[in-house]
Amino acid sequence: MAMKGKNCVAIAADTRFGIQAQTVSTKFQKIFELGPRLYIGLAGLATDVQTVSERLKFRVNLYELRENRRVKPKTLLSVVSNLLYERRFGPYFVEPVIAGLDDVTSEPFVASLDLIGCPMVTEDFVVSGTCSEQMYGMCESVWSPDLDPDQLFEAISQALLNAADRDAVSGWGAVVHIIEKDKVTTRTLKARMD
């Protein structure tokens, strides 16, 4: 999930990789850095999470080399949308969320897409994953506009942990990135390992 704060954004994910009931790994990376202030989180089929993040990084790298500048969050949204829609009739089973600050204006940005690339930009938060309903409920309760980085960290952590605890196949560890204009803070949460 990702949330907007005052001049900052947060993105968080659990770290479970499972095959139905069996938990295979508790350290699975689902959030990827695409720029110093730009992150994408991918929920869904693990192989597609890895493939989409790699193919996306490929396109972003070429873009940055050609354009000689960092990709903007809004542009990244278009790139991901395009990448996913190319596979409209045999899609990647991922539902990405994007969180970042504009490289020039430092304006916060969060967005999510469905598996065939429909983009959705919101002013508050975005969620995706098996416990999305629970996450929506939690976010709606804990989020308020203009939270500062520390408050945002508390909000997103509580939202993620409690939503994941209400879902059998989510959880088993969590990681949170708080993205501010001059730094990114990454924290691992002490979660219920069940």
Binding site: Y63, R66, E67, N68, R69, K72, K74, T75, L77, S78, V79, N82, V104
Partner: protein
């Protein structure tokens, strides 16, 4: 066309030159002139159209809008320009579909220059017989940019330049007259004055075309006949 020849017709001469490109540059220098001036407020393109008395001026387009934020003009062979314009327009739309915004001038120029270079190293084709001047935004949210592309595909960024007939004299004139802080109106007047030097006949909306990129609106457009007439009358 390319099925008959698998070798490039543009080959090196013993002195190390690509003669076809030299000849193409000669075609350009004999083509009807155009010039561009970049200031902080934007970029101005001005082109002369050589028309017989009975020709319909509106059917000949010398300044072309490649995308809402980029325009181009040329000296040389008009059909070659039309082909390149068509390609450039399509490339801009592909870019817009992919990235959600139109490419800045350097990105457009890079793609067009790749196309022009292909035609100097492919089987059965000849180089484009045009040099073009691109005007547009230098980078998203930035100020304007003016680029020249020659038949070989080399790109040069300019503050002000003239190509085509009398380009040498006009370039010298531009060097004297150039100032970065001119307003758009002053820039258009300066461009028209420089074009007037060596212009055959009377300047009118019939044989002059003007295109302007404004930094403030981040938009490129070609002027209407009446707007062109106003600027010409003012100088």
């Amino acid at each position: 066309m390319s099925e008959k020849y698998s070798f490039s017709l543009t080959t090196f001469s013993p002195s190390g030159k690509l003669v076809q490109i030299e000849y193409a540059i000669k075609t350009v220098s004999e083509g009807s002139a155009c010039l561009g001036i970049k200031v902080s407020a934007g970029v101005v393109l001005v082109a002369e159209k050589h028309l017989p008395a009975l020709a319909d001026a509106s059917s000949i387009e010398k300044v072309c809008t490649v995308s809402p934020v980029c325009g181009v003009t040329f000296s040389g062979l008009a059909p070659d320009f039309a082909t390149l314009c068509r390609k450039a327009r399509k490339q801009c739309q592909v870019y817009n579909t992919l990235y959600g915004h139109y490419p800045a001038c350097p990105a457009v120029v890079r793609q067009v220059s790749d196309t022009m270079q292909e035609y100097t190293q492919s089987g059965g084709v000849r180089p484009f017989g045009i040099s073009c001047l691109f005007a547009g935004t230098g980078s998203p949210g930035g100020t304007g940019a003016l680029f020249q592309l020659d038949p070989a595909g080399s790109a040069f960024e300019w503050k002000a330049t003239a190509i085509g007939k009398h380009s040498v004299a006009r370039q010298a004139f531009l060097e004297k007259r150039y100032a970065q802080a001119m307003s758009i109106d002053d820039t258009v007047s300066t461009a028209l004055l420089v074009l007037k030097d060596g212009f055959e006949g009377q300047m009118s909306a019939r044989n002059v075309e003007i295109g302007i990129y404004t930094t403030r609106d981040n938009a490129f457009r070609t002027l209407t006949d009446s707007e062109t007439r106003e600027y010409i009358a003012a100088i």
